[in-house]
């Protein structure tokens, strides 16, 4: 649909011979936050890789604001305003903090004012300003996470994909990250939040999709799921 910020339709994707996504469809409404849940290996990261062009799907389509981007290069999709905070952060380890941010800098589309610059990102994460000249590989996990988020913001995206931003972080840092996500949402960004942690998502998500073994098993608005009494943990838990 045209007012979807990002849509994956009927995606089948493979890593080598391993069939990781089976007929997966996801829709992220403009200005909404989609929580994407599932266990390890459920296909969450693969979906994100399909969205940014790192994993070309064997079947199905990807659209960004109604525009077909299936099979296009990652840098072309980035130019349309899609940014990824990848799983495991993947900051450029040999670059300084400032350089990590600078290389991702990009003007917003359509001549909109620059919302995110080195300055504003540093205001959002004061720690990054302090560490500006430090090599990113030497940062703590939490700082690397902030850097990964900051790097994604530097491209002034319309769609932000966050792949397990809470992974491996201490609880108070997770709380910080979550409050940042709320803020970004309030500023109108369309966000996909990928998580194994159901509780984190349930608090902020407008819509929720649960993947299991590469298939969509639950899907609906957060309120709707709550009303239907669906226990997210049942699909995620280790019981």
């Amino acid at each position: 649909m045209a007012n979807d910020a990002l849509a994956l339709s009927e995606i089948d994707a493979f890593y080598g011979d391993s069939h990781v996504l089976h007929d997966v469809s996801l829709r992220l409404g403009d200005g909404r936050l989609l929580g994407l849940l599932g266990r390890n290996g459920a296909g969450k990261s693969s979906s994100m890789h399909v969205a940014v062009g790192l994993l070309p799907p064997r079947r199905g389509a990807v659209t960004v604001y109604g525009r077909q981007v299936t099979g296009r290069a990652p840098e072309a999709i980035a130019a349309l305003g899609v940014a990824l905070v990848p799983q495991g952060r993947r900051v450029f380890k040999s670059l300084t903090v400032r350089e990590n941010l600078a290389v991702a800098g990009r003007r917003p589309r359509g001549g909109l004012p620059m919302l995110w610059t080195l300055e504003t990102v540093a205001t959002l994460f004061p720690r990054l300003r302090e560490r500006g000249k430090q090599i990113a590989g030497s940062l703590s996990g939490g700082e690397q996470q902030m850097l990964a988020i900051g790097r994604a913001l530097m491209s002034n995206p319309r769609v932000l994909l966050m792949d397990e931003p809470s992974e491996g972080l201490a609880p108070q840092i997770v709380a910080e990250v979550m409050s940042t996500i709320r803020r970004l949402k309030a500023e109108g960004l369309s966000i996909v939040l990928v998580e194994q942690n159901a509780k984190l998502v349930a608090d902020v998500a407008d819509d929720i999709v649960i993947l299991n073994s590469g298939r969509v098993v639950v899907e609906g608005s957060a309120a709707d799921l709550r009303r239907r009494g669906i226990d997210l943990r049942q699909h995620l838990g280790i019981y």
Binding site: Y15, D17, S18, R39, G41, G168, Q196, A198, K199, I238
Partner: protein, 240 residues
């Protein structure tokens, strides 16, 4: 008899992990991505060397034993990413595994194709994983699920005392999962098994004890019920 006891520290991925596994035990290791599970396996097999700490195998200190020798001492492993010989037949894959522990591997004169004893054992091993009917098929022409079973067959062929399984169910369909599960359950008790797995439905049944790794540390260890009930497990997995 202590089976496997390792402690090490100072690595960025795994900080001071101590783990001991009893002979014949079925141990499951779980933890989020990046928790250091595969690193742990690599340390046990010597594919990585620890900065500190010691690894003992049946009361023998193997910390200084070169990696390839350790597999002669009864360790066998599978890989999370299938690491097989693509161009060779299933039979040849398993034969290579048997050959690895045989003195014959240095022999440049005899014909490998005429080593009846070796080939018979390779067929036997393939039969154990119900793939003997595909023995002559090149690996590249088999399904992903079949390859997972070949991975396990390769390890079984080494006649291990300790089998390290790294995500044996990853990327499998439900039916394939059932096959692999049956296979793993059927491994005799004199083989100790340590398994990394995310698929709890399959893995929990199998495990007697579970170790939860998080950020290179053992957070929880105990029986299935203990681990599931433990608050830290819930925190890591459910954010509660």
């Amino acid at each position: 008899m202590r089976n496997l006891d390792k402690s090490f520290g100072g690595l960025c991925v795994t900080a001071a992990v101590s783990l001991s596994v009893e002979p014949g035990e079925r141990r499951l290791i779980i933890g989020p991505n990046g928790a250091g599970k595969t690193t742990l396996f690599n340390l046990i097999t010597g594919e990585l060397s620890p900065d500190r700490g010691a690894i003992t195998l049946f009361d023998r200190d193997i910390t200084r034993v070169p990696s390839h020798r350790r597999f002669h001492l009864g360790i066998a492993r599978t890989y999370q990413i299938i690491t097989l010989f693509q161009g060779e037949t299933l039979l040849r894959n398993v034969t290579l595994s048997l050959l690895g522990l045989s003195r014959l591997r240095w022999n440049p004169f005899v014909r490998l194709g005429r080593q009846e004893g070796l080939l018979a054992r390779a067929h036997e091993t393939l039969a154990r994983v119900a793939l003997d009917h595909l023995a002559e098929r090149p690996l590249a022409q088999t399904s992903y699920g079949e390859r997972r079973r070949v991975e396990i067959a390769m390890a079984l062929a080494q006649n291990p005392r300790i089998l390290l399984l790294d995500e044996p169910f990853a990327g499998l369909s439900i039916e394939e999962r059932r096959d692999v599960r049956r296979l793993v359950t059927g491994i005799p008790r004199d083989v100790t098994i340590v398994m990394i797995e995310h698929d709890m439905d399959v893995a929990l049944d199998f495990a007697e004890r579970i170790t939860v790794l998080h950020f290179g540390e053992v957070v929880v260890e105990g029986t299935r019920a203990e681990v599931v009930a433990h608050p830290r497990t819930k925190e890591i997995y459910l954010g509660e």
